[in-house]
């Protein structure tokens, strides 16, 4: 059974890497925020998996719970930044190339 969980964990790591690709490529900063949010959820799960692999879930589950409670604070801050930003409309940063005038 531990081998099964290690495989799952490594698989989740690979998925995280693919998600990071989205976070790096953008194209907009909002896409990066989505990427980071998804990575946060995957981290929460991965911490529990590592705990099971090491046989000390009671230690690791606390960290995971902290992530579950706090992960959306950063997302919320980023969203609030975008709720209100002066430069975006002026530069047309968010529009696709052919929509820019």
């Amino acid at each position: 059974m531990p081998d099964f969980f290690v495989t799952m964990g490594v698989g989740l790591c690979i998925l995280m890497f693919l998600t990071l690709v989205r976070a790096f490529r953008g194209p907009t900063a909002i896409d990066r925020i989505i990427g980071v949010n998804v990575i946060g959820t995957k981290t929460t799960v991965l911490l529990v998996i590592i705990g099971i692999v090491y046989g000390r879930v009671d230690m690791f589950v606390d960290i995971s719970l902290a992530y579950a409670l706090l992960n959306f604070i950063a997302t919320l801050a980023a969203a609030r930044y975008f709720q209100h930003h002066k430069e975006l409309r002026e530069t047309g940063f968010f529009l696709r190339k052919r929509d820019r005038r």
């Binding site: 698989g11 998925l15 799960v45 879930v57 589950v61 409670l69 997302t75 919320l76 969203a79 709720q83």
Partner: protein, 106 residues
Amino acid sequence: MNALAGTFVVLGFLFFIGTTLGLLRFPDFYSRMHASGKGDTIGAIFMLLGLALHNLSPFSWSGVFVSLKIVLILIFLFLANPTATHAIIDAGYETGVKPWTREDTP
């Protein structure tokens, strides 16, 4: 019990794969939010349920408490994830991102 836990974990993993593919392939950020908002929540729920079940299998009272904590993680993710999705998509709408529509493709 172990087989059930394994099934749940694999199911969650499949949903995570769906999320990641959607995140990479969808054309605009609104539809990417669909992938991350739903696929991620359900993937995490299934995986954590599987892990909680697995943790019960040599039965002990401390194990029950750890499983309950995993269920708590699940509940908080269930509350927080759609809210985060909503906050991001609201912010994107506010900044004036135009949704991609079928007519746009040449």
